[in-house]
């Protein structure tokens, strides 16, 4: 028979493709979290004193939050309490010896990334893409550094940046997301192990797409990486992160922090394809993806644009935001969030208008199937001095089947009368009429469904760099492949 909504309901049973484990020996911090754990991590990485001091301040602050059990409870998600003493905070593949080049990276690790479709070997690279590969807690390889350094661009692991550019880190770390910001950001500040660092100097347009690929491999390990990107005056960079993890029955915590800073006339385009293990079809296992991402348009006429395709994780809790400080600055947020099985997503953005004539645009597309629960949560705040601020918000939901949920919680706070705000929202179904129309034109149920869903996501996908738009389309198809047709 033809595709019906009945058939679409069986979608939830899809297999996760990236669920294998790489067999490498790793070095781990002792389970649990104390000041000693933090000192251990910091000394392991041979960090400058200021870094350790900052971590310890964060840890003490976090201690107070835990005491008051102030982990966030306002999101439309539910999970059993997390035992923070039962997590390993640092896990790194043991190097066979000190690495000087990519040739010396453990072949097991290289082949792990090959399998993920991310060859680190520069010969096999994606055209025009430089990659920083992060495995559990550490960066194992960054490609194209030479090419980038010709332009004065710094793109390396956070650990390397701490050794080589401590003054840049000292200046900007925590300037957008202070450790006091929220529970998970605070935890991250205390224990973060690695991440990516990028600095684009004045007037440089980064000639490559920069990519960080995060992979969780070890069991019982939390991943706490930190990314810091600074675009100096008049520069431009496009940055993409991807992620995956093995299939495990236990939930694993991923609490990352990303900070973006644009100075005058600079632009950062940050894209995410998030495909962490979502748990099985009964909701067992999966990653808790509790992430704080924020950008600050510090300079005038600068721009920060977030694009995210969220298909993985048992729970996603993230709100990539923009602080529009510089006059005429622009913030954008494009999001596709897919929940199937028992996945929960509470995601959205905050646009904080402070400077004059600032503009923001929010396009959110939520897709729910199975027992998935999808919430858009957004805040647009217009501060008193933000004359002539503009915001456009559109949040659309697409439902597949009748056991799933879609919610929207758009908040608006206007403290300046000259603000212009527009809001649109609609909810639709992958309905039988659309499917039949495509079927009547010769397309199979799966082709039809893919076409309709990709159509729904179009406004977001077209913001992605080309190769990744193709990848996102493929990922949606894979995730929604059901027993149709």
């Amino acid at each position: 028979m033809a595709t019906t909504n009945e058939d679409l309901k069986t979608i939830a049973s899809q297999q996760y493709q990236y669920g294998w484990v790489t067999d490498v020996e790793s070095e781990e911090a002792p389970k649990g979290l104390t000041e000693d754990t933090i000192r251990w991590i910091s000394s392991k990485k041979n960090e400058p004193q200021f870094m350790l001091d900052w971590r310890l301040k964060a840890f003490r602050h976090w201690g107070k939050l835990v005491g008051k059990s102030e982990s966030p409870t306002w999101a439309n998600i539910s999970h059993p309490p997390i035992d923070y003493q039962n997590i390993i905070y640092y896990s790194a593949p043991k190097p066979k010896k000190k690495l000087d080049s990519l040739d010396e990276v453990d072949p097991e690790l290289l082949s792990a990334y090959e399998k993920l479709g991310i060859p680190l070997d520069e010969q096999k690279r994606l055209a025009g893409v430089a990659v920083d590969a992060i495995f559990d807690s550490v960066s194992i390889a960054t490609t194209f550094q030479e090419e980038l350094s010709k332009h004065g661009i710094i793109f390396c692991s956070f650990s390397d940046a701490l050794q080589n550019y401590p003054e840049l880190i000292k200046k900007y770390l925590g300037s957008v997301v202070p450790y006091t910001d929220n529970f998970y950001a605070c935890l991250n500040a205390a224990v973060f192990s690695d991440g990516s660092f990028c600095y684009v100097p004045k007037g440089v347009r980064c000639p490559l797409e920069l990519t960080t690929y995060f992979r969780i491999n070890s069991a019982n390990t939390g991943q706490f990486e930190r990314t810091l990107i600074i675009a100096d005056e008049g520069s431009y960079v496009s940055y993409l992160e991807g992620c995956s993890a093995p299939i495990r029955d236990e939930n694993q915590l991923h609490a990352a922090v990303v900070e973006l800073i644009t100075l005058d006339n600079a632009e950062i385009k940050y894209s995410t394809i998030q495909n962490w293990y979502p748990g099985d079809q009964n909701g067992k296992g999966g990653i808790y993806n509790f992430v704080t991402k924020r950008g600050k348009c510090q300079g005038k006429d600068s721009k920060i644009s977030w694009t995210q395709v969220e298909t993985g994780s048992a729970i996603t809790w993230k709100y990539p935001s923009v602080i529009l400080l510089g006059d005429n600055s622009i913030g954008e947020f494009y999001s596709v969030a897919l929940t199937k099985g028992y996945q929960q997503a509470d995601t959205g953005t905050k646009m904080i208008h402070i400077g004059k004539n600032t503009k923001s645009k929010i396009i959110s597309k939520g897709i729910s199937s199975g027992h998935g629960n999808n919430t858009y949560r957004g805040l647009v705040r217009i501060m008193p001095k933000a004359d002539d601020a503009h915001n456009f918000t559109q949040c659309d939901s697409l439902l597949i089947g009748s056991s799933c949920g879609a919610h929207t919680a758009p908040y608006v706070e206007v403290q300046n009368k000259s603000a212009h705000l527009e809001h649109e929202a609609f909810t639709s179904k992958v309905d039988e009429d659309k499917l039949f129309y495509c079927n009547q034109r010769g397309m199979s149920g799966e082709e039809a469904q893919s076409l309709i869903i990709n159509g729904f996501c179009k406004e977001v996908f077209r913001e992605l760099p080309f190769e990744f738009a193709v990848e996102a389309t493929r990922l949606m198809d894979l995730n929604l492949e059901g027993s149709v047709g």
Binding site: C438, Q440, R441, K458
Partner: protein, 261 residues
Amino acid sequence: MLEIKNLNVSTDNTHILKGISLKVSAGEIHAIMGPNGSGKSSLAFSLAGKPGYNVTSGEIIFDKTNITSMEPEGRARAGIFLSFQHPVEVPGVRLDQFLRASFNAINKSREMDQLDPLQFDKKLKERLKVVDMDPALTKRFVNTGFSGGEKKRNEILQMAILQPQLAVLDEPDSGLDVDALKSVADAINKLRHSSNAIIIITHYQRILEYVVPDAVHILMDGRIVKSGNKDLAREVESQGYEQFANYLSNQSHLTEKESRQ
């Protein structure tokens, strides 16, 4: 080419088509006329295999194959095309991409060449001329925000691209002004040839002045109550559908009698 044998169709609990029989041969144009709610669209959907239109008895034979329980994409690939009375909007999907996906899906099932975007673009330009449609529409999302006339013309464009053996056109004329009607009729005439067949479903006789049918069937309350040549359409025009109501009451009287036996 097509033979419908005593077809009965129900949706949920409603018996909609009540014993339809019809034979259409290659090269022919048949018109099906009837008042609103008589079951014209249901007949079209049943031919195309829309889920929810359940055949409770009878058969549809197409090209010597019994397709009564074939899925819609199978029928489409076999050469049955339905021009929708209410074409469906597919937001976010550009019309030219939709058309190529459709063309390639059908070609693939026939193990014929699939066209890349450039090759398809050439074909599309050619066909656009046949139906006299604004090429700019093909860069817009399928039917999204199209006017009534643009939607109808788009259906005919799809027919021109897919070149079906059997085209069922469900009210290709409704909502069109005289000029648009003439040009749609003109396109249909260009697309008819000796090896394909066309069924035109219409409420009014207007379009049949331009696309001259070989046979006309009057559908009322799920039954074909009268068949004839093109003059029958003129009869409808001048006297309305009421005159056929007595055929209907006679017939339902008959079926009642039959069922009592």
